[in-house]
């Protein structure tokens, strides 16, 4: 039990997808201008990462390993992720048109979000079992959502701050992101993983 807690803490905070592994930076800078879109993006990515990690784990365990097709890993993972994202998009559109409006273009862009493929490849690298994989994927994506929301909150305040014109816009955004990454380094003592 304690192992699982450490695993999740490590995936969410210590080895945060965005601030420690530097994955998914496009959406990190692109969707964080408002807190509500950041929340929506976090939820959608959480769902996609968790579902596609389960599927990818099954593909890895029952197809790629037994038939010795490991060199096809990237292309099959991308295939599974793209299908999962497409399915998520159709479902969200049917169930919640307002969430669909809010996410807009960013939903299909999750396909090319390297955090999704990155988590799937990290699972393979770590040789994790099914339950561990699911927990790791869920914790990683929750960490992703947390950082997205934190950063969106910071940027909402930045938008009304008196920033020198030289730094206005993305430059100050990157500086704030680096400070946030420094702050997250404070977690690096937790867990031994």
């Amino acid at each position: 039990m304690q192992d699982y807690v450490y695993l999740m803490l490590s995936a969410a905070l210590v080895n945060n997808v965005i601030l420690a592994r530097f994955l998914g930076l496009c959406s990190f800078m692109g969707v964080t201008t408002r807190v509500d879109t950041a929340v929506g993006m976090g939820l959608a990515t959480t769902f996609v990462i968790t579902v596609s990690s389960m599927l990818n784990w099954a593909v890895e365990a029952y197809l790629l390993k037994p038939y010795d097709l490991l060199y096809l890993r990237t292309v099959t993972f991308i295939l599974v992720i793209a299908a999962a994202v497409q399915f998520t998009e159709m479902t969200v559109r049917k169930i919640s048109p307002s969430l669909f409006q809010m996410l807009g273009i960013y939903l299909p862009l999750i396909t090319t979000n390297c955090a999704v493929l990155g988590v799937a490849l990290l699972l393979v690298e770590g040789r994790m079992g099914f339950l561990e994989s699911v927990l790791f994927a869920l914790a990683s994506s929750l960490g992703y959502s947390l950082v997205m929301v934190l950063f969106a909150g910071l940027r909402e305040r930045l938008a009304v701050a008196d920033v020198p014109p030289l730094f206005a816009g993305p430059p100050i955004g990157f500086i704030v992101a680096s400070l946030l990454a420094l702050a997250f380094m404070g977690f690096s003592g937790i867990g031994a993983h």
């Binding site: 097709l69 096809l72 292309v75 599974v80 299908a83 399915f87 159709m90 479902t91 559109r93 009304v160």
Partner: protein
């Protein structure tokens, strides 16, 4: 070799047919009129019509809940196009093309009631309860909602002054206007008004 090809083909086929089935069962009906009307609107999502954005305005137009003259930046041309597509008559004689504006709060009159702040959809007004408010010109998109709620009439809509930063080339004339300008001078007498065909609505 064959296992590799077959497995990828199989996965592609299965996932593709799953998605195809999902598209069939989860299909969302959309009003094609909405998309067409949205294409006629300027698409700047300014909110001056009182709706959140152009898509919502197009939806309201398609339901017949909004007048075709709802779009100030679109001006007469957009109103005419919308009226033609929706098959409604529109009286544009009273219609004036608006120029870009922004809200200005007269600080002597502001009582700090925060009503305009709650109304502003662009977060362009700053202030706190019983503190003087102020509007940020760059963020204001001139929807005019704050003017309606202000109890002391302290908000004015002012035209954006022409400076080197805001000046732009005037729009080129539309083809109808150009036809008018380039029409060769007629040497015939104009027809008397009684002979003109009645204008169809």
């Amino acid at each position: 070799m064959w296992v590799d090809i077959a497995s990828l083909t199989l996965m592609g086929g299965v996932l593709g047919s799953l998605l195809g089935a999902a598209a069939w069962f989860l299909a969302v009906e959309e009003n094609p009129l909405e998309a067409e009307l949205q294409a006629m609107l300027p698409g700047s999502q300014c909110g001056q019509c009182g709706y959140v954005g152009c898509a919502q305005a197009a939806a309201a137009l398609a339901r017949g809940e909004a007048p075709v003259t709802l779009c100030p930046p679109g001006g007469k041309a957009t109103a005419e196009k919308l009226a033609k597509r929706l098959g409604v008559a529109v009286d544009l004689s009273q219609h004036e093309d608006k120029i870009p504006q922004y809200a200005v709060i007269v600080e002597d009159l502001c009582i700090g009631c925060t009503r305009c702040i709650k109304e502003c959809s662009a977060d362009a007004i700053f202030g706190a309860t019983k503190q003087m408010h102020t509007a940020i010109a760059e963020a204001c998109h001139a929807c005019g909602k704050c003017v309606l709620v202000c109890p002391t009439d302290a908000i004015l809509m002012q035209p954006i002054p022409v400076t080197l930063r805001t000046w732009h080339w005037p729009k080129p004339p539309s083809w109808q206007e150009r036809m008018e300008l380039e029409k060769p001078v007629s040497h015939h007498w104009p027809k008397p008004p009684s002979c003109q065909q009645p204008v169809e609505a």
